[in-house]
């Protein structure tokens, strides 16, 4: 059909990065963490415990292939042969299907450790909003999990829901947060974060004459509230940090912070790599202590 809109609004940009200040050839220990999540996959390469390179991609239908793609993408501009890797840990939903991993550790432990690295040792509460689940984690000064909660049974109010919404309203996902504040007044939240019901409700609001930005605001505040009820159950101790893709959506995060009444810690790092960072750091610690790969 002429003029058919084929833009995929949900599609976020896949990226990779290499630290220009590090030469992997000088490194004593190279470790890798690969986080195969339900929606996105990351590979993080660390040289002697420093962040050297990473990639952030969409997870495909095949976990081993997603892990492979993420690692290749991460190593793309480094010229580092894969054989240089001393230890690799798989984490995330597909953690047992990472073919190059020496062992697996849950994403809960990895996100706590990753947040500790990214945000600093003061972090005590970590909220990870991933593609299909949401975790509230309490950790100690080492980044070790003390207690945690996950959303039950349903993936409402997570990253994938936001992707569906971006598509429904034809708003590029990167702009959702910003545009949700471009409203004259804050509308009522949609009453459900269930993706299916919220879609119906959003369509109803549009039909009643509400503007797209207002509907975005209504959904962002519904998601913020759902996340709040989870994190409230575990109790928030300062400092508070957010990881995962949704940390990049200020429409949800700022509304959540308003409910909590607390400023989150800030970072320039990509918040989606926290799990893989934690995995790579666990690998580094193991190799350092002689508990690495058996030659």
């Amino acid at each position: 059909m002429a003029g058919e809109n084929t833009q995929e609004y949900w599609r976020w940009t896949e990226s990779h990065w290499k630290n220009p200040d590090i030469r992997w050839e000088d490194a004593k220990i190279v470790t890798v963490g690969i986080d195969v999540g339900s929606v996105s996959s990351q590979a993080v390469v660390m040289t002697d415990g420093h962040l050297y390179a990473y990639s952030n991609m969409r997870t495909g239908s095949d976990s081993p292939e997603s892990a492979r793609n993420a690692l290749n993408f991460g190593l793309e501009e480094t010229n580092m042969p894969e054989s240089r890797i001393d230890y690799c840990i798989g984490t995330g939903y597909g953690r047992v299907n990472v073919p190059m991993a020496d062992r697996s550790i849950t994403e809960i432990a990895c996100h706590a450790r990753g947040a500790h690295f990214i945000y600093g040792p003061e972090v005590r509460t970590v909220l990870d909003v991933g593609g299909q689940d949401c975790k509230a984690i309490r950790c100690d000064e080492k980044g070790k999990v003390v207690n945690f909660l996950m959303n039950d049974k349903c993936a409402a109010g997570t990253g994938r829901g936001m992707e569906v919404f971006a598509d429904l309203l034809s708003v590029p996902i990167i702009d959702v947060g910003e545009r949700s504040f471009q409203v004259k007044e804050e509308p009522e939240s949609v009453s459900s974060t269930c993706v299916v019901y919220a879609k119906t409700e959003a369509t109803g609001l549009l039909r009643k004459g509400w503007q797209v930005n207002e509907v975005l605001a209504a959904y962002c505040s519904a998601m913020a509230h759902r996340i709040f009820t989870l994190i409230e159950r575990i109790g928030i101790e300062k400092e508070f940090a957010i990881t995962g893709g949704l940390a990049k959506n200020r429409g949800v995060i700022e509304r959540l912070m308003k409910e909590i009444g607390l400023e989150p810690m800030r970072t320039d790092w990509d918040t989606q790599i926290a799990g893989a960072v934690g995995a790579a750091l666990f690998g580094y610690a193991l190799v350092q202590k002689g508990k690495g790969r058996k030659k």
């Binding site: 849950t106 809960i108 432990a109 070790k144 999990v145 996950m150 049974k153 610690a285 193991l286």
Partner: protein, 382 residues
């Protein structure tokens, strides 16, 4: 011989139907472990516990509120779907309203023939509980006599006590093996055993349990036991979940073994015996049910369960406890914050999971695994 328990668990209806044909004995289904099985054995009637099937169903909606627990719904569904049509009657010893609703609906809509509601006192800590229950038992005995078509004498009751005490002892002896460093019996197998006991004649169960006991003495399991876990909470025969966490070690870097439970499908049900030094057998049985490890619906004003849970946790040297609640099981829900605080104060970490008819294996696996990781104290990772 251990696999016999699983066979009985999986083929409960086949066993019970054949049992009737084979022995000519009647079978009564009961809903709650507050039903005194001794009285039924005394009349040569087989008491069998009604458990759910863990299959999604759509027949109980008109009978039970949506906010009643999934176990009572699952149990009622078995009756409404005709899976227990061979029963000669049903009964319940009062514990909670949810399960009583399942009993009442079954009674109303399935015409079970014989049915009896036993008003088991909820205030078991009252001095009047035992004398009250003795009188209630005398009424129940008359009703059982009508069904059996014969008188129940004191010696018959002593026979019933003897049968039940012997299986309780046999299961406790098997539990002793679970205290070992590398238990020769998994939690999955133990759960098959305790549930098989619900479904079979104790006199047929007993020789198998004795044989298993002999086998366990030399049995070695080729698996890393991992962390020693205790399960605590509502009715639970979710063997799929237990098996899933006990096989985590085959796929992941952490594993565990369930070494003891505090459920009404396990220790709460069988741990306490009838005191045979008490002359009047009716009174002896009544005391056993009043003083047994209580269901939280009866554990007030004192929470006596806490100390019993702690004793099991210590005797079986558990590393952590997973607290399980059947969704909407209010008596257990009210106890959970106290149990968790109490165990944590005593150095036993806990994690909470809410169960439904079917278990969300994936999300429960990652949660359980992350909990095991917190128990691991793997300092090498930091």
């Amino acid at each position: 011989m251990l696999e016999k328990f699983q066979e009985w668990y999986e083929n409960r209806h086949e066993y019970q139907e054949k049992y009737k044909e084979r022995t000519g004995n009647k079978i009564v289904g009961y809903f709650c472990t507050y039903t005194p099985e001794e009285l039924f054995y005394a009349a040569d009637i087989l008491p069998v516990r009604i458990l759910g099937s863990h299959e999604p169903q759509d027949v109980t909606e008109p009978h039970i509120f949506g906010m009643f627990c999934p176990f009572c719904r699952d149990a009622l569904a078995q009756g409404l779907k005709g899976k227990y049509d061979y029963l000669d009657g049903i009964t319940i010893g009062q514990s909670c309203l949810h399960l009583r609703q399942a009993f009442t609906s079954w009674d109303l809509h399935k015409n079970p023939g014989w049915s009896y509601f036993l008003p088991m006192p909820n205030h078991v800590q009252s001095k009047r509980a035992v004398p009250f229950l003795v009188e209630e038992y005398r009424l129940l005995i008359k009703k059982i006599e009508e069904l059996a078509g014969k008188r129940i004498r004191d010696d018959d009751l002593r026979q019933g006590i003897d049968i039940m005490n012997k299986v309780r002892q046999a299961m406790k002896e098997i539990y002793e093996f679970r205290k070992e460093e590398n238990p020769p019996i998994t939690g999955t197998e133990a759960m098959y055993m305790t549930c098989a006991q619900f479904f079979t004649d104790a006199r047929e169960f007993l020789p198998v349990a004795k044989e298993v006991n002999r086998e366990l003495a030399s049995r070695r399991l080729d698996r890393d036991p991992g962390k020693r876990i205790m399960l605590i909470g509502s009715e639970n025969d979710d063997i799929e979940y237990i098996n899933m966490i006990e096989t985590l070690g085959e796929r992941e870097s952490v594993g565990c073994t369930v070494v003891v439970e505090e459920h009404c499908t396990t220790t709460r049900y069988f741990w306490d015996e009838v005191d045979t030094d008490i002359d009047d057998p009716v009174r002896a049985i009544a005391e056993r049910y009043v003083l047994r490890t209580p269901c939280p619906s009866k554990d007030w004003p004192q929470r006596t369960r806490l100390q019993r849970i702690l004793k099991l946790a210590k005797d079986f040297r558990v590393d952590g406890a997973i607290i399980i609640q059947q969704k909407f099981c209010d008596p257990h829900e009210a106890d959970i914050p106290f149990i968790r605080r109490f165990l944590e104060d005593n150095g036993i970490p806990t994690y909470f999971l809410e169960f439904d008819v079917t278990v969300a294996s994936g999300p429960f696996a990652v949660r359980t695994e992350a909990f095991l990781e917190t128990l691991e104290a793997e300092e090498d990772l930091f």
